[in-house]
Symmetry: D2
Subunit: 259 residues, 4 copies
């Protein structure tokens, strides 16, 4: 049975990629689009003319679609997801900006309304698998360091993915103290420290977004690396979410938790 | 409660490493050693003088130890494991050379005797985790190639680990056909082919034993790599096996299956 | 003193990048553009209104510019470069398709007209330096293998850069025979063979264009790698050519020969 | 004509490796060994019985050998090299510990005595080539960062090779300022800073000694990496030094300066 999909933020760069993705899938059909900035006919956005376009959320009827894909803005996402849940449309959310408290509230609504969904700050499958594997490997290799590489225009360091990876590793590795007596003859060469896990950030032109987790043990090493060349890669994760959304009976945070 | 350990092949290079490992662990105690070539007192082998040395298997009493660690020879291993199981000592086996049929027979004995055990051709944790992760990633990234690198003295190619990895990936990836229309202008540059998975073997002096699994998807890549610098690394896996052996109620083949 | 530049093929993708590059440099000024397909005013192409546009070669006067940058087509390049040389404009040529014989003829013309120039099939600085360094390292490390990685849409293998690298290495390494007695248990895993240098081609979605040269020696390894993410990278090499063109007194083939 | 070689420090680990190397070469012959700790006959040290062993330097006659290879101790090296030069034996020195002032003095002696020689703190060819190539690439890629990886027992950071590489790059790159406005949300993740070149030190069990130099430019990247698995690798560099020592007419510091 074909699932009906509504795309919130369909006019944006990510929304446009989602349209192409869903159009390429057999078991899903776009039935609606939501955006405050609709200027053209559906076909100008890559949509068939039967697709209904909404410029405000409240016009969308209850159970209008099975799935609500959200790539909108930090200011809109909370109300959007709440609306989807209370109107019995399962949300798949790639928009960032939800606070911990908002996530908790949405989880409660999800339980009350008996509808599942997924909130994923990162839909890149390679990054999500890297984090999952790193967490698992840390059980056996407590000695670990992280290197992340980004283009020179990224002014903040470390990357969110690197820090999230360190957090997942820290949860899972046995108590561990590495080399307390080390000496830096050039300050800071040993990098940043998150609960004993060293993080190193590289910023160079040419690079895009890359993360490497290095584990060392007696006589051996294990290295996990992911490269994101293009945000198009997020569609790999959205596809996985679409295939699994049916099996979710609550609001899940993080794509890695449905793999 | 301290577990009692017997080491079969304790005079060999791996056996000697196992002695050091077990001596360093709090919850395990070496109580016996088996080898046809005993020449010296226990302390010459790094053992305390209370440890009993056996130069033939049949002299070992029933339930003499809790765990039988076996790093012996292809010709001895089958009888050793059979003896361990029927005498209610749980085997942890790093010796290679068991046939599929022998493994099946030992499994049956294990069930009958109601005692678990582990047979692991590869105790390198980095290699075992690499294979496990590669299998899992293949679900989401059907496009994959394998590179393995070994010292120039390794005359056969590909390595057993590379081929084993390809087999595990093949079990788990969706039906997949990559580039049927490709053209080699220099023969064989596209490497070996195992069910559509390309394998490339590098042989160079300086290298030891390394494997890299490369996954590619739209706009992203995931790479898993392991380096074995020294067989000392096998002790990481033996340690994991010692910690888990208690929880096994049958004969398990492959360290990855107890992680 | 500011050098005057004419851009042949200024309406194409590479030509447009060249316009941006030259506009950003202090010591160079665009004075003309050549293209058979001129439709708009100069400013539509990112050029100032003083720039003269030509839709045929013969309209360009003798010594009209100091430098002729050529990113045109295989069918036009030979006549273009000949025209430039005989009209005393030093050519910098990124267009591919010249035969060995045509290159020889252009070299003769260059000598007769006493004007230098550069023909470079690859203006990517990272690829050019990789080849140069690989050639040099081969003197000390005769054991070497090459891996090249490209997107899955590249149907031919190996890449031109990988083969060119192997040729340069073959010229420079001492007579060498590696492992004549090796055995493939899976056909072709040892890759392609160019004069004893093994070449391995990887084709995966997500990847762009990458080359890795691996040298091994007793107890050590040296690895050179280049990644091309975008043809924008060619502008790095064009910039180097512009800075050096003045010092060339003959027609040089290959950017590596002016570094 | 066969060259005569004296090995100072022939009883040490490196000296023993030098004996094996020279014995394997056609054009060189060991004629003497110097060590304060001689206990056995020459053949116990892998030497033929004609080789003369000295336990003090002053017993070695003028022009006793053509070449003096020195792997001794920081306290002996200065007097050894001085002795070699004044007795007309060309020194190849792998011993560390000479001060800048001592090197200057030895250079003067070398000129006065009209005999060349080589002092090389690092005889690893992969490290030496890496530094040479990094210096050259910096001319074209001013954006560069360095990662060095060592075993967890190395308590100081960064490694000497990484710092030496940064110094060579700094000499050769154009004036350069990278990202002055970057922000660390976790302190020190951007690593150490040597004249604008970021250095990152990794310390993990399993690793031996590895260095990676990463260059980035618009749309491309160039990476140089060397791995030292074993000090045996130093013999590659000693061999190169033996082949070139004849051509040196002064005291050269650094193997890279004779390549």
């Amino acid at each position: 049975m074909t699932k009906k999909v509504l795309i919130a933020g369909f006019t944006g760069a990510m929304g446009q990629k989602v349209i192409k993705l869903v159009n390429s899938l057999d078991d899903f059909e776009i039935v609606g689009g939501l955006s405050p900035e609709i200027k053209y006919e559906p076909k100008e956005y890559g949509l068939s003319n039967e697709v209904k376009l909404f410029n405000q959320r409240d016009a969308i009827p209850d159970q209008f679609a099975d799935i609500w894909i959200d790539f909108t803005t930090p200011s809109a996402v909370y109300e959007n997801v709440k609306y989807a849940l209370t109107h019995h449309i399962a949300p798949i959310v790639g928009t960032t900006g939800l606070t911990d408290r908002q996530e908790d509230e949405l989880s409660l609504i999800s339980k009350k309304e008996k509808i599942g969904g997924l909130i994923a700050p990162n839909f890149g499958m390679s990054a999500v698998l890297l984090m999952k594997f790193a967490k698992e490997a840390a059980k056996y290799f407590p000695d670990v360091e992280i290197i992340e590489m980004h283009h020179a225009d990224k002014k903040d360091a470390p990357s969110g993915t690197a820090l999230a990876t360190a957090k997942m590793i820290a949860q899972n590795r046995p108590p561990h103290q590495s080399a307390p007596d080390e000496v830096e003859t050039l300050s800071n060469v040993r990098g940043g420290d998150y609960q004993g896990i060293k993080i190193h950030s590289i910023r160079l032109p040419g690079y895009v977004a890359h993360e490497q987790v290095m584990f060392g043990g007696t006589g051996e090493a294990l290295t996990l690396r992911q490269d994101s060349f293009d945000r198009q890669s997020f569609m790999n994760g959205v596809k996985v979410a679409l295939e699994k959304i049916d099996t979710l009976h609550e609001l899940v945070i993080g794509l890695e938790n449905i793999l």
